[in-house]
């Protein structure tokens, strides 16, 4: 892994991070899992980890009330790799440093109000072996490249942040379509522009959620409650398979095979293939995202959603590339029908609870009055309950875009999101009038 951070034009950090290790999971008595990991790769240490994992699994086996009939994973031998057009190895350290430096040059173009600018380049080259006693042998090479840009514009004591990320599974061709320079420039211009705007209002509004924000809404509000481990705790979507849980305009899926998606995974970390799983179809709840354990408890097949961030963490149910199927509306058509409302854009990240309560931040907004875009506003947070909010969706955009995402549920994960704009009713927590 390589990271390079440029803060206000200075290469503040350039790191070379090489890590390796082994994580071992043992399943005993058809009930209990144990996990152990080590960064010492000698035979004795690895054997010790295996023994630890068995011992750990046995320790709590007698406490388990439920037997788990794990569906066998078909023996599989595979060797897969991300498609990379421009391999990282073909670029010198100087070339890499230039990426965030170019972003900084672009940001400077936005003028003197840019008070703080940080650009971070990250490349992750991950070589992973999965071996199981069921006979599976999978070798996966993944390459990911990301660029994060954060700008703060300042004027008369007012600070306005803006940020944007790029990221995909693949090589440095990531920057062929959007150059670091142009991205830095657009984020900085966006921050500077916000200095002249007012704070958004508070209360419940008819809103259009731009794809850049819809990615967070989808991940937090509906993605998390559809993860079987969270769903099984009750509340949220609990045991509502087959029921109408959302507006009928909504179809949601999770798909590890989305080309270039930051959450591109051919196989998960239990050796299960990451296929497309339809979660909600025309508003009806079809499936949850499962690992082998939750699938066994629910009498269904695992869906390839067991992922570990690295060798030192146990696999956990995670989204790969979650998506909302595009609808029938252009953005203009969605705006036309709004008497008074807001268009919310850009994300500041969010959170969700198991009862499907969620909150997340938007970077900027625009008033919509009588079907037309009016003045621009700053950012704030919105909040609601996913089940209630998703019933209010009355339009889904035609065009979907692929966004990079990340999640910090117990451990880190990189993910993709395929999202259109949507229109719904939501509570906005602005400080303005």
């Amino acid at each position: 892994m390589k990271t390079c951070t440029v803060k206000n034009g200075i290469v503040e950090e350039f790191s070379d991070i090489s890590l390796s290790g082994v994580g071992v999971r043992a399943f005993v008595d058809n009930k209990s899992w144990g996990f152990s990991s080590t960064n010492m790769l000698g035979f004795e240490s690895v054997k010790q980890s295996l023994e630890n994992s068995i011992k750990l699994a046995k320790t709590s086996s007698h406490l388990k009330t439920q037997e788990l009939k794990l569906e066998p994973v078909r023996e599989r031998v595979a060797d897969v790799a991300t498609f990379v057009k421009k391999p990282i190895g073909d670029f010198s350290a100087e070339d890499i440093v230039d990426i965030p430096l170019e972003a900084h040059k672009g940001a400077k173009e936005a003028g003197p109000q840019v008070a703080d600018m940080k650009a971070t380049y990250i490349s992750i080259e991950d070589e992973k072996y999965f071996l199981s006693s069921e006979g599976t042998r999978i070798h996966q090479n993944t390459t990911r490249v990301l660029l994060f840009i954060n700008v703060i514009a300042k004027s008369n004591g007012l600070l306005c942040p803006a940020s944007e990320n790029l990221g995909h599974a693949g090589g440095l061709e990531l920057f062929d379509r959007t150059s670091p320079y142009s991205l830095g420039k657009s984020v900085a211009e966006s921050a500077a522009k916000l200095l002249k705007t007012k704070a958004p209002p508070s209360g419940k509004f008819h809103v259009i959620i731009h794809p850049t924000l819809c990615a967070t809404l989808l991940h937090e509000a509906i993605g998390h409650p559809l993860e079987a481990d969270l769903a099984m705790t009750g509340g949220g979507f609990g045991d509502r398979i087959g029921e109408l849980v959302s507006s009928k305009f909504i179809t949601i899926y999770d798909d590890g095979h989305v080309e270039g998606g930051l959450g591109y995974f051919p196989y998960d970390d239990e050796g299960v293939e990451c296929k497309r799983t339809v979660l909600i179809e025309n508003g009806i709840l079809k499936s949850f995202m499962h690992d082998r354990t939750s699938a066994a408890l629910s009498n269904v097949s695992p869906t390839g959603n067991a992922h570990a961030w690295d060798y030192s963490a146990e696999p956990l149910i995670r989204q790969t590339n979650i998506g909302i199927k595009g609808g029938n509306y252009s953005l203009e058509e969605m705006i036309e029908d709004v008497e008074e409302g807001l268009l919310l854009e850009g994300t500041f990240g969010g959170q969700a609870d198991v009862n499907a309560d969620f909150t997340f931040g938007f970077q900027k907004a625009k008033w919509i009055r009588k079907g037309r875009i009016a003045e621009e506003l700053r950012g704030a947070n919105v909040a609601g309950n996913a089940i209630e909010v998703f019933k209010t969706i009355d339009a889904v955009g035609k065009e979907t875009i692929l966004r990079p995402g990340a999640c910090g549920k117990f451990q880190f994960a990189v993910q993709g999101r395929v999202v259109p704009a949507i229109r719904c009713k939501i509570l906005v927590g602005g400080t303005g009038d």
Partner: protein, 465 residues
């Protein structure tokens, strides 16, 4: 035992690598190295979900060459060869880096003796004991009331070594232990499912109290049934320690970091000596607090620990510094270099912490001096207001904007807690709120990097559904 043997090997190899770097054309070099053993038990839906044991050790080098160019490289492959090569990688990277003005590493100084960082009983904890604690926290919560479900939780015991050495004579090693019990619970009654309630205990000693944590969760959950929507209004709000420790501390930390002051983006830039908060607010950073969860005798670039007064009776006295920010702002280093910075910085989450990163500026135990009123007294003095024990949503740290969802909050009328609130948000600018603090509670609680009590803040905007 195994841990100590590994440590000896790692320490030896790291010192060799630093000596090898000294022979090269460098200005300074530094190595930060750790070795830890962690035993963890995870709780899910009233059961022990899994248990794990993770051994981790590694080293991160910072190499400085002429014109203050700095490179960083790290590895967890523990051979002399790989450790030497990693030092050389850091040097190679420094060559393509740019000048960091005022870059500085601390010089050697005798660190203070900080009590209560290590407890042999934690180092010797077995997984059976960890499982026992997990069972006790589940039972304590669910026996409190049969509507309570222990949803997710963790019991963690960690024992390890932390070391730092640089070419300016810094050479310190410290042994430490940590223990955490944490539980999230929810309530179920007919069709109603409450939001999550959390309690936890962060400690250095083998004094985890699962019964207390479990009962607290049980009590919190039972208070959450039959919530009612809120109508928008503006009035007094009591923020409980959990709410303070998260969104409000995030804003404080960002404004107090030396590096945000250097760039001028801290909201408190140029405000030293001025009133930035109400007179009753005093904030210190106390790295030498006995048994403090983030106490240490030296920071993560080797500077000796101390207590720094940051805000005294509302007046801004100091920022948090590492060697570089102290030099840039020509002031004293406060020993706040941290390789375990909290928060939700995406880059940190990808790269990881400890030896995997260069240090940032972050508090050790950021402490808000407690007042003398109990929570009940604070509530009894409010005619119409809200108690917010926890809220969800990120603060916009730089601008101080907090617009958060009320996740565990109660409506107060005539000095009594009336009902839990369903939905609703709280919205405002934390820098204004700090000036509107009218009373501070005595209920201080230890979080990972903060020790904070309840705060009563006047004239806060609540957004109803």
């Amino acid at each position: 035992m195994e841990l100590d043997e590994n440590w000896g090997f790692l320490s030896n190899a790291v010192h060799k690598a630093i000596r090898a770097l000294e022979e090269k054309d460098i200005t300074h070099a530094e190595a930060f190295y750790t070795s830890t053993q962690t035993t963890e038990v995870a709780i899910r839906n009233s059961e022990i979900l899994t248990q794990n044991k993770v051994d981790d050790s590694g080293v991160g080098f910072r190499v400085v060459i002429a014109d203050n160019k700095v490179g960083f490289a790290c590895t967890n492959t523990l051979s002399e060869k790989s450790i030497l090569e990693t030092g050389e990688k850091a040097l190679a990277i420094a060559k393509v880096s740019s000048e960091i003005p005022n870059f500085s590493l601390p010089e050697a100084r005798q660190p203070p003796k900080v009590k209560g960082l290590f407890d042999l009983r934690i180092a010797d904890t077995t997984v059976d004991e960890a499982i026992d604690i997990a069972k006790r926290v589940i039972n304590a919560s669910e026996n409190f009331d049969n509507r309570v479900i222990a949803k997710d939780g963790r019991v963690l015991f960690q024992s390890g070594w932390r070391g730092i050495t640089n070419t300016l004579g810094v050479d310190s090693e410290e042994r430490e232990t940590k223990a955490i019990v944490y539980l999230g619970g929810a309530g179920k009654q007919n069709d109603e499912v409450t939001g999550s309630c959390y309690d936890f205990m962060f400690t250095r000693k083998a004094d985890l109290d699962p019964k207390n944590v479990g009962e607290n969760v049980g009590k919190m959950v039972t208070e959450m049934f039959k919530p009612q929507p809120l109508k928008s209004f503006q009035g007094p709000v009591i923020f409980g320690p959990e709410a303070v420790s998260y969104q409000l501390v995030d804003v404080l930390v960002d404004a107090l970091k030396g590096e945000t002051v250097m760039t001028g983006r801290s909201a408190w830039t140029k405000k030293l000596g001025q009133m930035v908060a109400s007179e009753n607010l005093t904030i210190t950073d106390n790295a030498t607090l006995e048994n403090g969860f983030s106490s240490r005798s030296f920071d993560d670039e080797g500077f000796s620990s101390q207590t720094a007064t940051l805000v005294e009776k509302g007046k801004l006295k100091s920022f948090l510094h590492n060697a570089t920010s102290a030099k840039a702002l020509t002031t004293e280093n406060t020993g706040n270099a941290s390789r375990f910075a909290g928060g939700f910085e995406m880059v940190h989450m990808i790269v990881g912490s400890g030896y995997r990163t260069k240090p940032e500026i972050y508090p050790s135990n950021l402490t808000i001096e407690p007042g003398n009123k109990r929570k009940e007294e604070l509530v009894s003095e409010i005619g119409k207001g809200v108690l917010i024990e926890s809220m969800a949503g990120f603060s916009q740290a730089s601008s101080g904007l907090i617009s958060a969802q009320l996740s565990r909050a109660f409506f107060i009328q005539n000095g009594e807690m009336k009902y839990p609130i369903k939905g609703g948000m709280v919205s405002g600018v934390a820098f204004d709120w700090f000036k509107q603090i009218s009373i501070i509670g005595k209920d201080s609680k230890q979080f990972q990097n903060a020790v904070v009590p309840s705060l009563r803040i006047e004239n806060v905007k609540l957004v109803g559904t």
